[in-house]
């Protein structure tokens, strides 16, 4: 069987499963990005807040995550989560091993890692807002929540786009590590195909090509978003 029959969409073709797996990669990466954005927002707020405790906690979070391999974090959530679920199960009389759902494990673990980077991106974006904007908002009597919604969020979103684009690329590539939990995303699907046809090179090559498509499309989309977000900003 040649490469095109193998990766085609015919009866023996692996084209469809590979593309479906690529959408799974996209879904788990998106979920991780959202988790990371929530953690990043929280982290940025903690780092910018006056509370010494909150700042310290956020500093520990970003420092520890950046110094530890992501694979180790995934293992922690996969096995640690199972242990916790098992303990809860025992309470209710269940026995034996309770597996963590692979999608949730992957999204939370990768989201936790990316959240550390998103913290810095959002913090940087907040600092880029001109002080006068915030003072003006306060001067016209905006309450904090309204100021957050009308003044801070739109501008943070604008300045954070390039940084968030980098984090998104990181997450897409990181999502390949989730294959160790058995979630059938792109790399795991390639492993399955390689195992059953004994043509690993073709499968991993296809996976690499599909990742390249995802990362390239992402680059284009983020460039568009940036242009759009900056359309009101005068450039020298």
């Amino acid at each position: 069987m040649n490469y095109f029959e193998l990766m085609g969409f015919g009866p023996n073709g692996w084209g469809l499963p590979m593309i479906q797996a690529a959408t799974m990669t996209l879904r788990v990466a998106l979920a991780a990005f959202v988790v990371g954005l929530a953690l990043g927002g929280l982290g940025a707020w903690a780092k910018l807040s006056g509370s010494r405790f909150a700042r310290g906690a956020a500093d520990v979070y970003t420092t520890v995550i950046r110094g530890i391999p992501d694979l180790l974090v995934i293992y922690l959530f996969y096995f640690g989560g199972s242990a916790v679920l098992g303990a809860i199960g025992k309470w209710f009389g269940a026995t034996g091993f309770v597996g963590m759902p692979a999608f949730a494990t992957g999204a939370i673990a990768v989201g936790l890692v990316s959240g550390a980077y998103q913290t810095e991106v959002l913090r940087g974006a907040f600092m880029a807002i001109a002080k006068g904007e915030l003072e003006a908002a306060r001067a016209v009597g905006m309450p904090p929540l309204l100021m957050f919604r009308r003044i801070i969020v739109p501008q943070v979103a604008r300045y954070a786009i390039p940084g968030l684009g980098n984090v998104w690329q990181l997450i897409l590539k990181e999502s390949a590590l989730i294959s160790v939990t058995g979630l059938v995303e792109l790399l795991r699907q390639a492993q399955i195909g390689a195992g059953s046809t004994r043509q690993p090179f073709y499968f991993f090559l296809t996976a690499a090509a599909l990742y390249l498509v995802l990362t390239t499309l992402s680059t284009i989309i983020f460039e568009r978003l940036e242009t759009r977000a900056m359309r009101g900003v005068r450039r020298a």
Partner: protein, 236 residues
């Protein structure tokens, strides 16, 4: 907290440290040589070299490292032609495959860092050196490289940390470095959290030493500037 178990974890993880450091050290060394070559190819003005360098960086930065590792470790063996060459005894071994994948990967990221460093050297510096009669190797050795190195060092420091973290992928192809042993300990004891704490602390310690060393190097290379305040772990 069970300190006896933590201590046992630590003792069993210790033998994994040399493997982690060896993988990171050698791949960074090989990767740096390749990175300098790639950066010089990109700036050479020779179209073929320039495009090769561009394509290399695009492909290796656009796909996950784990896919690259699988392509080398599982993929190459698919071809009988490769199994007959003198390279096969190396490509059969997970250690050499991991080293190859890590080196090729860091070369792509390193090439961009080195290129940035080379481009940052002010044109006037090169002109002045030419005016004094320096050319070729002497110009590079005395004028370009020292300044490029100073510019590139902070970014390269982040790359070193990323590589230390990336060595954890070796555990997926059965190598027993830190993460590999941690994984084994977790599946033996089902105590993911304790193992994670010990393994994570070892990684943090390694990366802490590296950050300090890089910061020291930065200070040494900029005698004209006052010492920076103590830096934290750099962003990726």
């Amino acid at each position: 907290m069970d300190f006896a178990f933590l201590l046992e974890c630590f003792e069993r993880l210790l033998p994994g440290i040399p493997m982690t450091l060896k993988l990171a050290g050698f791949s960074l060394l090989i990767g740096l040589v390749l990175a300098v070559l790639l950066a010089m190819a990109r700036l050479s003005g020779i179209v073929v070299l320039e495009w090769f360098s561009r394509a290399y960086v695009f492909v290796f930065r656009g796909t996950p490292l784990l896919v690259q590792l699988f392509l080398i470790y599982y993929g190459l063996g698919q071809f009988p032609a490769i199994r007959q060459t003198f390279l096969w005894p190396f490509l059969r071994e997970p250690y050499w495959c991991t080293l190859l994948a890590l080196s090729l990967n860091t070369a792509a990221y390193g090439a961009e860092i080195v290129r940035g460093g080379l481009l940052s050297v002010a044109a006037g510096q090169v002109e002045a050196a030419r005016a004094c009669g320096m050319s070729g190797w002497l110009l590079y050795r005395r004028i370009v490289f020292p300044q490029a190195l100073r510019q590139a060092l902070p970014a390269y420091g982040s790359e070193i940390i990323l590589m230390v973290k990336a060595t954890s992928l070796a555990s997926v192809v059965t190598l027993l470095e830190l993460t590999g042993i941690a994984h084994k300990l977790i599946s033996e004891s089902f105590r993911a959290i304790e193992v994670f704490i010990v393994a994570g602390a070892i990684y943090l310690a390694i990366n802490f030493v590296i950050t300090r060393a890089v910061a020291w190097g930065e200070r040494r290379l900029s005698p004209d500037r006052p010492a920076d305040p103590l830096p934290s772990l750099p962003a990726a």
